[in-house]
């Protein structure tokens, strides 16, 4: 599996001279599976940075939405394959009682908020609620579970040819208390992230910022590190950067994370700060494979 980060920012697109290294586009990750097919995780403004010709060869494109906050869907109407009548696209997302996924997305992507209605998109588009059980797309087996964020929100675990990716861009596992003190069964997202070869996880706040954002559905960096450690993630990609955090501030966040990670006896090379445009191959965790 290979991932290409279209956008790693959270909450709000944040372009500017202080955001050039990590980028300002909101959440979107392209996953290339071992059989060459692609999944797109979330459709924030970063979706504009993905290859515009995905699906041109007849490939069925699957977009998996963790939830419907704007920073995860705002790019949908700016993604060229959705305007190609020959392209098949399925949008997967969390279910909600009594209202279809299509109707919920159309609430945002319709007048007066947008010039083009999602119902006008010319591609062959369908909407599906993510199943409660695992399902297959291409060579991947996918599991979606609700995780702790505001509103119905999913995390995804994607397994393909012996490697695993866990995607938790918006997640506040520490809402219940210190993660060190909780049994795993009480940690939101644990079963999705357990021993994932790559964990993509929310790192929105510094520890100093978190108290004034308690309950907003995001993590402080110490929570991210603690969660990854408790779940025994092989590598961790820090994601969903706060729109106020400049490149230099994100460097500081990474330094803080590395310090905390190393203090747990972990290899600091396993921590990566998400940056728009970066590509990362997902490989089996060497500590678990013994290589």
């Amino acid at each position: 599996m290979l991932i290409n980060i279209g956008g790693s920012r959270g909450s709000l697109p944040s372009p500017g001279p202080d955001m050039l290294r990590y980028g300002g586009d909101t959440s979107c990750v392209q996953v290339t599976l071992s059989n060459g097919h692609h999944l797109i995780l979330d459709a924030g403004t970063g979706i504009r940075n993905l290859p515009p010709d995905l699906g041109a060869g007849g490939e069925h494109i699957h977009i998996l939405l963790t939830h419907l906050h704007l920073d995860h869907i705002q790019g949908l109407l700016f993604y060229p394959p959705l305007f190609d009548p020959h392209t098949r696209v399925t949008i997967w997302g969390p279910s909600a009682p009594g209202v279809s996924l299509k109707v919920r997305i159309a609430r945002y992507l319709s007048a007066p908020l947008t010039p083009v209605d999602v119902r006008e998109l010319p591609c062959q588009l369908d909407f599906r609620n993510c199943p409660v059980s695992e399902w297959d797309i291409g060579s991947a087996r996918i599991r979606a579970e609700a995780v702790n964020h505001r509103g119905p929100t999913l995390g995804f675990r994607i397994e393909d040819s012996g490697v695993s990716l866990c995607y938790l861009p918006d997640h506040e596992p520490a809402l219940l208390g210190a993660l060190e003190d909780l049994e795993p069964e009480w940690i939101s997202g644990y079963s999705l992230a357990r021993e994932a070869d790559l964990l993509v996880h929310d790192c929105q706040y510094t520890d100093a910022e978190y108290p004034s954002h308690f309950g907003w559905g995001h993590s402080a960096i110490s929570h991210t590190v603690s969660f990854a450690d408790r779940c025994d993630a092989g590598r961790v990609l820090l994601f969903h950067h706060d729109p106020q955090h400049s490149d230099d501030q994100l460097d500081d966040v990474l330094s803080d994370a590395v310090r905390r990670w190393k203090s747990r006896g972990r290899n600091d090379a396993a921590l990566v700060m998400g940056a728009d445009g970066d590509e990362l191959a997902i490989e089996p965790c060497p500590e678990r494979t013994g290589s």
Binding site: E145, A146, E185, I187, S188
Partner: protein, 131 residues
């Protein structure tokens, strides 16, 4: 290895009940008492951290629930059991005996926790009728 992770609705229910000032129980879909909060611990005379998780048979008799006329209540009659097994809210006055031997007259309201994956457990809130 710990048991399987609870659904997020149950995790959030624990967070919710742990912050309530009213006594509350939380059971999973099998009826296992997986958490009760500090006010419930005060009422029952034992903290959850001391008591730990209990199967339905254990918590069903441990606090010796009776009707107000003294008739012992069967497990299936308890609001929490009804909420889990019949997926509907239930309410009942009753007496319970704490682990200290005190008798409490309480009212119990229980309701199911239904999540994205279906029924996930139930919450019971206790009201002490003597206060």
């Amino acid at each position: 290895m710990a048991s399987q992770q609870h659904p997020v609705e149950v995790i959030l229910a624990r967070g919710f009940t742990s912050n309530l000032a009213t006594p509350a129980f939380l059971v999973d879909q099998e009826g296992t008492l997986i958490f009760f909060n500090e006010p419930a611990g005060e009422l029952l005379g034992v903290r959850f951290e001391e008591a730990g998780a209990m199967g339905p048979e254990e918590w069903g008799w441990r606090f010796a629930p009776t009707a107000l006329d003294g008739r012992p209540l069967q497990l299936r009659e308890l609001p929490l059991t009804i909420a889990v097994t019949e997926s509907r809210p239930a309410h009942s006055p009753m007496r319970i005996r704490s682990s200290r031997g005190d008798l409490h007259e309480i009212e119990v309201t229980a309701f199911p926790v239904v999540g994205r994956s279906g029924p996930a457990g139930a919450i019971a809130i206790f009201w002490d009728r003597t206060k």
